[in-house]
Amino acid sequence: GSSTLMYKSHDQDKEYVGFATLPNQVHRKSVKKGFDFTLMVAGESGLGKSTLVNSLFLTDLYKDRKLLNAEERITQTVEITKHTVDIEEKGVKLKLTIVDTPGFGDAVNNTECWKSVADYIDQQFEQYFRDESGLNRKNIQDNRVHCCLYFISPFGHGLRPLDVEFMKALHEKVNIVPVLAKADTLTPGEVKKKKIKIREEIEQYGIKIYQFPDCDSDEDEDFKQQDHELKESIPFAVIGSNTVVEAKGKRVRGRLYPWGIVEVENPAHCDFVKLRNMLVRTHMQDLKDVTRETHYENYRAQCIQSMTRMVVKERNRKYAHAEGREK
């Protein structure tokens, strides 16, 4: 890569072009522009989605939320809500959009309750498609969903019918990262068993979750080991917390029980840190790339195909009509 080029440049000063600095230039520009990322969270209510989002990004996005009771929720259909927050860290700006799906899976009859979610994702693709094909492309807003965290209940025996249906309806539209919610309900043995079961069922039902890219063969062993562990951790067993508690003299984000303290950021307690690192520190760019290169392109191709089909159909209809008149 660029390292070898740099090496050579020392020997052949006159031939040094200088585009080795390109990554730095890109870096500088991006930092000035800022990044954006759209994360969707889906799953039944009460699985700790909002708390986890707050924990991941150290914000309080859901401060003024009012929880509905069972009576009020009878007439509610699945809504799509958006919260946007600007986060800055060490000079890098991130515009984070969280898309929530309140009402999902909460009714007695949940047939096709994922439809509004699928429609939302398609709408963002469609809007981008239009903008991309339009004349003024300077300030295109990218609202496409880059990643969907799907929350699996820890109380089931693996995937439930609703989980399977949701993931199958969306796996070709968005990167699905399954998480095992409220994992402090489970003992370490139970977590392990459930993860294996869920991974088996995902394969059995042909669900295509987000795949971590394989690491290059020239990466060092540590990195390879980490990558392997990451893949084995699916679904991430997570715990979230909005409160800080005191444990062993330190202040940590956690949950205080009479029998002990769960520390959110302790890798021995849950996979929160793994998830956060994956989402923010290592795979954020890849998630966006896959969205752009695979999911969006699929949508675009389908769109164009169906548009072409419609045009052809319309043309044939006109011919048939014209012929009919001639006769």
Binding site: E44, S45, G46, L47, L67, L68, N69, A70, E71, R73, I74, D106, A107, V108, N109, N110, T111, C113, S153, P154, F155, G156, H157, G158, R160, P161, L162, E165, K182, D184, T185, L186, T187, P188, K197, R255, L256, Y257, P258, W259, G260, I261, V262, E263, A268, H269
Partner: protein
Amino acid sequence: MSDIVPPEVRPKPAVPAKPPNVGAPSPSSPFPPQGLGVGGGGISAPPPSAIPVPIGSHGGSHSVGHGIGHSVSHAGSHAAPHSGGHGHGGSHSSSGGSTLLGYIGIDTIIEQMRKKTMKTGFDFNIMVVGHSGLGKSTLVNTLFKSQVSRRSAGWARDEKIPKTVEIKAVSHVIEEGGVKMKLTVVDTPGFGDQINNDNCWEPISKYINEQYEKFLKEEVNITRKKRIPDTRVHCCLYFISPTGHSLRQLDTEFMKRLSHSVNIIPVIAKADTLTIEERQEFKQRVRKELEMSGIEFYPQKEFDDDMEDKSDNDKIREAMPFAVVGSDKEYQVNGKRVLGRKTAWGIVEVENPNHCEFAQLRDFLIRSHLQDLKEVTHNIHYETYRAKRLNENGGLHPISSADTQESNL
């Protein structure tokens, strides 16, 4: 209606006058043998595990007791036949009574009943309802400290979710302190697990009514069995998912529809998901919703017999739904072996009242209100069903089975 009608009274010379661990005898029961109070009033009584709790049976003087029993219940007063679980009512001082000259020995009836019931044993039917994975089987096993649930009856843990709600009943005879209990656990796999759960409560409702019907048919027979087998559901534990938010729509739908035909005891499952604070808030919200939806869970306010009952039951109602954790594994804590769940940050002790409310549920369900559950089922829910059936089509049809005689109604 508070007469003890013993079959015979004979002074019993060698029997001690005061049997141990008896709460005051409660004589007001609609049928002989009279119901014996289990524990003296509510949870605080020491668990009298040696005291048998007689079946809601029709042994002994059949026709007499029957007539008495029915007329009482039909008169609409629920007050009388309800003393089962609470040691109160005409308490005879067991030391012979200061008003009697000399000792007759009437109080030895208790010992006689006790012996008789220990021989016959009694049965209890408990149903568990809730999404799969909420720990229903584990909790029942923990409650009765035996492997009594369907899970241990050879059912594979990873069975697929059934497409419709199934009803699976498993019976075991367990024994404690010389008392035998035939415990039937009715499981309802498939409840609430589908994408579309409309009417998933119907198979359950049907099952409950079928048991009432079975009992009714036996009852109206001319030649009745000495002891009608009682398969009626005495108690339905409804498992609420510990989301921390509030009840789900399915929860209220189910409980609204079934609380008038069976005793429903809601419990918050897998409570080790919630911190103490979260648990209290969740409970408050759940109770408010239950109230707003008009759901009367057991112990129902309208069936409180007297002030003592009311105050005991008020305390219980205030604490419900109990937030429970179940486990069939033991761990060493502070030198003792306890049932619990071992996590990376500590051991959740099932029977530790600081950790969860399992002990409270167990005491309530088994040690103080077991008999009451049966009595409310028999005197109220069953009677409601029976009255409805009698009013349909102008009365019950004669039994169609081998007996072609008319019913004695």
